[in-house]
Amino acid sequence: MSKKIGKHIAIYGKGGIGKSTTTSNISAALAESGYRVIQIGCDPKSDSTTILRGGNDLPTVLDTLREQSKVRIEDISAVGFGGVLCIEAGGPVPGVGCAGRGINAAVELLQELKIFEEFKPDFVLYDVLGDVVCGGFAVPIRDGLADRAFVVTSSDFMAIFAANNLFKAVNKYALSGGARLGGVIANSILAAYAPALIDDFAAKTGTQVIGYVPRSLVVAQSELYGKTVIESVPQSEQAQVYRKLAKYIDENEDSVIPKPLNSPELKKWAREWGDRIFEVETGVVHEMASI
């Protein structure tokens, strides 16, 4: 079997958690260091690469497939900041079809177009919606496409819940040639307890947090201008955070098969954290606790 061209990384996370922002900034940081990068948005919303492209329109793979019988690489890709090749898989018209199958079809087309052979990337980043890990959305991690998966999560329970679900999928497919887990990216860190909560979740599931991205106005502002932080405020601390993440992904090959929590365990874990946060917020002092 021929060697895969470039390192293929899938980044999952609950919708709205900042996964596309994080992925785009990592792509930008990798490109800034001189790497050739492809970012593929695997989300029917098709807004994964917007901030790499200055907000310009890019026809999705599925829209193009619907309208043209012959699709060329130029029809479905755009070169964004730092030469990152941006692709959006897209999806069916809302309310019809199967978005999961759409991802499948888009990935198949990219392989047919020999996009990796043509572009010769050092990195391919798949930005995948992680709310629904049905067969279609699991394609990047199950068919030997990505070598490693990363999960973006905040300290919100629903984001952790989605991450845990993704761990279940990785756990299932890793043994049969699927991707392994590279780690957790803690995003939108604001509350003081957030890093500890995500650290604890990572420890309980046998994985690790590879970076903490603080909640920042710079990110929101850059997004409004249709840019990544790396491009718009390259000297900022936030840009440094993304560069660190990119460096980690570049230099570190560690990966594990996570041990997801089952439903009662996850509920129990969440309740314990609920209690702990309540105690911190209300200042409960336990008996014998040294003050």
């Binding site: 021929s2 392989q111 067969g135 394609v139 199950r142 040639g177």
Partner: protein
């Protein structure tokens, strides 16, 4: 990307610009295929259609020491019934997925089936065949394959048929052959070569295969016949053969091409050994490769003389024949009929693609106005064409022979008639002679009312064939 890396091969439409619907003179087909882009055609109405699952199962049914599991709802197993009806003696099962399985995933059921069948039959290989339900659900076959392959120490081969990736059922052959090659042939391109020649036989009549084997044996050629009536050990040996020769350039094309490109087993590109000249050409092509032309020449001369003697004064002079067969078969039968002095009135073939360009170009020079109709199962179009052309004889497979006979045209079924090799010429000639001599049955049938209305016969034959516009 490695040739076998994907789960399934690209469809024939994408690989070879295969058309499943077309109507026009051979000159137009030749011109169209001379260009870079072939516009796909679609049928706005189809009477019936074959499915790639059928074709994939046909390949798997040839591997004797196997068990096949059709992983899907029980209706999908109807494809297996077709092969029972066709006399295939293969062991196949269906996992009978229910509604719950389609929602929750059915890997547990599949695992249980593989283990149970392994314990019951101890096969050398288990095939797991997909279908539309599995493909749409992205159901997980792969982890069952990986897990049980180690646990049972048994090759388990997933065949990712979708039923919708291609509009041409012939793609199903490629899908099955892709999986066989991927899982049974190993990676070595430098396997130590042996002296055997692969005889590539896909969905051939057993007598055809036997006749071809006998001819090659008379030239002292050691053979490894795959995948029809073979074992997985024979399949494994194929990568180390000296060369491959196909019984048809069409059905086993993918197998021959991968053995050539990935494993360095040269593919001898030659048409079917049908007709005296066709058989001679076939024998000489392999003999030339092996440096044994004289023996082939000698055998050809002896056999040709024998056949000439047996045919006597049989001639098809003045007889116009319509041929309706799978593509490579149709083209070779056309040559044979012309060799017997006959004329061909028209052709219906199952598909048309870049593999047929040689035939098309040759025919375009010889008989440019000859009409080619591409259809797999559209009897209604064919009957209308036949009514207009009014040929003296019809050669086809069994699917709608009855309807053709009702037009009063003498018919010969090639469904169970072996026509490969020198003896095939005599067999076909005898059958034709009988059909032409006994025309009264057809003439009586012609008195029965047609199932079609005159309005349909007044329509152009390509009424439902449109160019795909996007």
């Amino acid at each position: 990307m490695s040739l076998l890396r994907a789960k399934a091969p690209r469809s024939r439409e994408k690989r070879l610009d295969t058309l499943g619907a077309w109507l026009g003179p051979v000159s137009a087909a030749s011109t169209e295929f001379a260009g870079d882009e072939i516009a796909q055609r679609i049928r706005t109405f189809a009477q019936s259609s074959n499915d790639d699952l059928l074709y994939a199962l046909r390949i798997l049914a040839g591997i004797r020491d196997s068990v096949t599991i059709i992983h899907g709802p029980r209706g999908c197993a109807a494809a297996g019934l077709y092969h029972i009806a066709a006399g295939c003696n293969t062991r196949w099962f269906v996992t009978n997925l229910d509604e719950r399985d389609t929602i929750m995933g059915a890997d547990r059921k599949l695992r249980k089936s593989v283990v149970a069948l392994y314990r019951r039959y101890h096969p050398a290989v288990v095939f797991i065949v997909g279908n539309p339900v599995i493909a749409i659900n992205n159901d997980d076959i792969q982890s069952v394959v990986e897990e049980l392959h180690e646990e049972l120490e048994l090759p388990i081969v997933p065949v990712y048929v979708t039923g919708f990736s291609s509009q041409n059922a012939v793609s199903g052959y490629d899908t099955a052959l892709h999986s066989l090659l991927k899982y049974l042939s190993g990676n070595s391109a430098t396997a130590l070569k042996n002296e055997r020649i692969n005889l590539l036989s896909v969905a051939e009549h057993p007598q055809d295969r036997k006749d071809a084997q006998n001819l090659l044996k008379q030239l002292g050629i050691g053979l490894n016949v795959i995948p029809d009536d073979s074992t997985i050990d024979q399949f494994r040996l194929a990568v180390s053969a000296r060369a491959s020769i196909p019984l048809s350039p069409d059905a086993p094309e993918y197998l021959g091409a991968i053995l050539d490109k990935k494993y360095g087993v040269p593919l001898i590109n030659v048409l079917r050994p049908v007709g005296v000249e066709g058989t001679g050409r076939w024998l000489k092509s392999i003999a030339t490769f092996l440096g044994n032309e004289e023996a082939a020449e000698e055998l050809h001369e002896i056999k040709s003389a024998e056949i000439a003697l047996q045919l006597g004064d049989f001639s098809l002079k003045g007889i116009k024949t319509y041929i309706s067969l799978s593509s490579a078969n149709a083209f070779s039968v056309l040559d044979l009929l012309e060799e017997l002095g006959g004329e061909v009135a028209g052709l219906t073939i199952t598909h048309l693609d870049r593999l047929h360009v040689g035939h098309l170009n040759e025919l375009a020079l010889r008989n440019p106005s000859l009409q080619i109709h591409v259809s797999d199962g559209q009897a209604f179009e064919e009957i209308s064409i036949l009514r207009k052309l009014a040929p003296d004889l019809y050669l086809g497979d069994a699917t709608h022979l009855g309807q053709v006979a009702r037009l009063g045209i003498p018919v010969v079924s090639l469904e169970s008639l072996a026509i490969v090799g020198y003896s095939g010429v005599v067999r076909l000639a005898r059958r034709i002679k009988t059909a032409l001599a006994n025309s009264s049955y057809g003439l009586s049938l012609a008195k029965v009312n047609s199932p079609y209305q005159d309005a349909w016969f007044r329509r152009s034959h390509n009424w439902h064939i449109k160019q795909e516009v996007k």
